[in-house]
């Protein structure tokens, strides 16, 4: 009777150890990737701010200035040149986290994601070529750049969280 009870106790101890072991990797997986998500969202905010200058000038809401346009475009190019290796750890998607709209499709087809990021760099460089040449060049170049944003968002970004 006593040995049976001990047996049960051992079983219980073994079970709770097993549960603890099972939880350990889950706890690692469930990390919030706070810094990585903040870093990558920060770079998109830099893009938005600089695109806002260029788009505002293209629409005539901000007075065109060649130096300002060139600087904003150079910033967009600079973001495209940041190595993305540390910004997108596997598991930092919108199924695992409440802080991101990044879809798991990014990691399911990382080549596609990388090529869309490259398209952004290509259009940012094209925009930088023309940004200082005059207000009328901005509209088409900003539009082409926006197309690369949307192509990636269509495939890899989920809807707003709330």
């Amino acid at each position: 009777m006593i040995s049976h009870a001990n047996g049960l106790g051992l079983h219980a101890a073994a079970a709770s150890l097993a549960a603890a072991l099972a939880l350990a990797p889950a706890a690692t997986l469930a990390q919030d990737f706070e810094n990585q998500v903040a870093a990558r969202q920060g770079q998109f905010k830099i893009m938005a701010l600089n695109l806002g200058m260029l788009g505002g000038m293209a629409r005539g809401n901000i007075e065109y200035d060649a130096d300002t346009a060139a600087l904003a475009a150079a910033n967009l190019v600079a973001v495209s040149q940041l190595g993305q290796e540390f910004h997108w750890p596997e598991g930092s998607d919108n199924i695992m986290l409440d802080t991101t709209r990044a879809q798991p499709s990014i990691w399911e087809d990382f080549d596609d994601f990388a090529s869309k990021w490259q398209d952004y760099g290509t259009q940012a460089a094209a925009l930088a070529e023309v940004a200082a040449t005059g207000q009328e060049a901005l509209g088409p170049a900003v539009g082409a750049l926006g197309g690369t944003c949307q192509a990636c968002h269509e495939a890899h970004r989920g809807p707003e969280l709330n």
Binding site: G55, R101, P159
Partner: protein, 303 residues
């Protein structure tokens, strides 16, 4: 007791017969079909109807760009709580697509949700919006579709849960939800055009308006935002209670995908912007005017 039982059976039989009668697929009257067939169709004008109608968003390959958006091979999966609806091939291929249809077949499909074989289509195909289409737009769109490339992709079956596999039941759904009444008033020419683009061709409410448990749109919360049927997140409330963009901002967004903060459209809305970018500026302005004039829908207190 026996008589009472017989009475119940009789009532049940009458109810079943009534439901069967109500749920029958109803096609357009002959006079309307004749009027549509008589339109001198303009395929080039139909191209704009095609873009305004958002056909490519479901019937072209997911993520397709440029000319690839004109290959209407189908295959897009619309996930919902009822199961997955798979968009069919509507290219002019005579067997795999709809190349063997008449314009009348097309009209019954678009305006009444009834197939050439006389079966109901699921309302994932937004005939509840297209029901408002003019004869001319319908005929022009049909003419445009004839000019597109043939695709031989075979259709995949829908993946629906029982009892939604019973198509006849859609007839009862239509009885409740298929109506050619407009939702918003349109006191000016611009607003009337905007309403036509939003409520008819663009079928914006399909995503932006919440649904009841039977999948019918909750007209009291028109464009008030909804659960994302296909995954996480919400489709935003675009009434003035939640969206404070100017009309110019909305029109610019529909042209470029940029929000006033220079965030950019994502998910299915990125595909919508590809369509609206093809429209004349006056159409985007009309949509913006309509959206600015929507009745405000406050956010639900708690969810």
């Amino acid at each position: 007791m026996r008589r009472f039982f017989l009475f119940l059976v009789l009532i049940a039989a009458l109810a079943a017969g009534g439901a069967w009668w109500i749920s029958r697929p109803q096609v357009l009257p002959e006079a309307r079909l004749a009027a549509i067939a008589a339109v001198e169709a303009d395929a080039e004008r139909g191209r704009l109807v095609f873009h305004a109608g958002g056909c490519a968003s479901c019937h072209a390959e997911d993520g397709a760009e440029g000319e690839a958006r004109l290959v209407l091979a189908g295959g897009h999966r619309l996930e919902s709580e009822f199961g997955a609806f798979v968009a069919p091939n509507i290219s002019p291929h005579p067997e795999a697509g709809i190349g063997a249809w008449s314009v009348g077949d097309f009209a019954n499909a678009m305006l009444r949700g009834v197939s050439p074989e006389g079966a109901h289509y699921y309302p994932a195909f937004p005939y509840t919006a297209y029901i408002h289409m003019t004869d001319r737009d319908l005929a022009d769109l049909w003419a445009f579709l004839q000019t597109l490339p043939e695709a031989d992709r075979e259709n995949d079956p829908n993946a629906l849960a029982f009892p939604y596999t019973l198509r006849r039941g859609i007839g009862l759904w239509k009885w409740r939800h298929l109506s050619d009444d407009w939702v918003a008033a349109a006191p000016s020419e611009t607003l009337e055009r905007g309403r036509y683009l939003v409520e008819a061709l663009g079928h914006c409410a399909e995503c932006h308006t919440p649904r009841d448990r039977w999948g019918g749109l909750d007209l009291a919360r028109w464009m008030g935002g909804a659960e994302n049927p296909s995954g996480r997140g919400r489709i935003p409330n675009i009434t003035p209670a939640a969206l404070d963009w100017s009309a110019a901002d909305i029109a610019y967004y529909l042209e470029t995908g940029f929000t006033p903060d220079y965030d950019s459209a994502g998910g299915t809305m990125a595909s919508v912007v590809k369509n609206t970018a093809e429209l004349p500026a006056s159409d985007r302005e009309a949509i913006a005017a309509y959206v600015k004039g929507l009745a405000p829908v406050a956010a639900p207190d708690a969810e």
